[in-house]
Symmetry: C2
Subunit: 260 residues, 2 copies
Amino acid sequence: MIDAKGVTAGVVLIGDEVLSGRTRDANLQAIAQFLAPLGVSVAECRTVSDEKDRIIAAVNTLRAENHYVFTTGGIGPTHDDITAESVGAAFGALTGVRADALEIIEEWYARTGTPLTESRKRMARIPDGASLIENPVTGAPGFQIGNVFVLAGVPKIARGMLEDIAHRIEGGAVTRSRSVRADNLREGDIAEPLGAMQEEHPAVSIGSYPYFQDVDGGGFKRGTHLVARAVDADELDRVIEKIASLVSGLGFETQIDPEI
Amino acid sequence: MIDAKGVTAGVVLIGDEVLSGRTRDANLQAIAQFLAPLGVSVAECRTVSDEKDRIIAAVNTLRAENHYVFTTGGIGPTHDDITAESVGAAFGALTGVRADALEIIEEWYARTGTPLTESRKRMARIPDGASLIENPVTGAPGFQIGNVFVLAGVPKIARGMLEDIAHRIEGGAVTRSRSVRADNLREGDIAEPLGAMQEEHPAVSIGSYPYFQDVDGGGFKRGTHLVARAVDADELDRVIEKIASLVSGLGFETQIDPEI
């Protein structure tokens, strides 16, 4: 693979519910799709359990290796929500209830007529030196400390918090992506010429991803998505046209997907 | 969180397409749900790009820390499929086209009338000393080397390969999981008594997971899933009944979900 990655991010998903298989994560995809147009690519993602040592280790490794880190999960009011103090500890910062965060939560709950219990005040625990991230869904803020952004685990809230982050990101060149869908094509039909094309165009990253879809009444449809990624839009267009011609030349129908 | 984890597994998802946000991973959930009834819990998952050094590092770290490791992705016929040699290198094993794997692929393609190209033969690259894992969907096998199981990335194929793995796993005590769904309950409504219950029942791991569902016509429904996990089924039943009573006592309707 081509390492034209430039500005990178690491992602740390915190939550026993993802590791146990109870829920299927949606946050990595949302974060990656948010970062791509800003010129930031996700280099690695680690999913860890709700244990302080594991959170600290993942955050410290990924923040040293990447320009940015995003965490999701573990910032609610319950006993298993330990992300704030864990990320604080990763930076050697103290974490306690902070007046600015508490004010936001107090106002939010006053407006919605919800009692402000002691456990809800836990959501105002923010490490010293961190700046707040607005939560337009349920009020209780996330935070940024250094190059680490701490978001909620509920996908709707995590996506809401991303709105308050774009202006804090200094991205690099934007990697564009285009793809060709070829029904019935199997990877092995095209692997050799595709490998040659990759060698000919080292500034473009070419990948192939087979798919299988179950069909009503039994059996399945199959095919392959051929994906090219590059910073140079003209070069990307040239390669994607060549891939489409290659597929047609092999006798398969092609469909060039809209740019994503 | 309680560390009654016993036998653990690490998962390494290999694929630029997951990190780029083009696709949303389904394999971690499938592997976790496959392992749970065998008495194995997933302790960590790392998603890495199609780069040899990153694959080797993730596999070597996780296989040292866990009883088992599962990888998905990167075992197809194209230039970006480098998992076999990377996992081989992690064990210091040579990886080449192996006769037993080639025979399986030859028979499969002969039966389906597909030409056996040079690139398809790449799918017979298996590290020395590895045992094969049957692929009932597309023929080309996965493999096991040491405590590492190497599966395809396409979810349908990965799930098919898991069928040939259960008999190779020595699990520990099975952690059972039950949950209570409480519509309209917010975490902050119950955080304090739930934390006290966690302290009272240290052998049970209690988690709370809020949910938000968009409703047609705008707005959203919200509520909380309260999940308990334990090895001791009787203790688990006692705790889940106490949680349900707690929720009812707060004036919310509860529904005890079927055991998963």
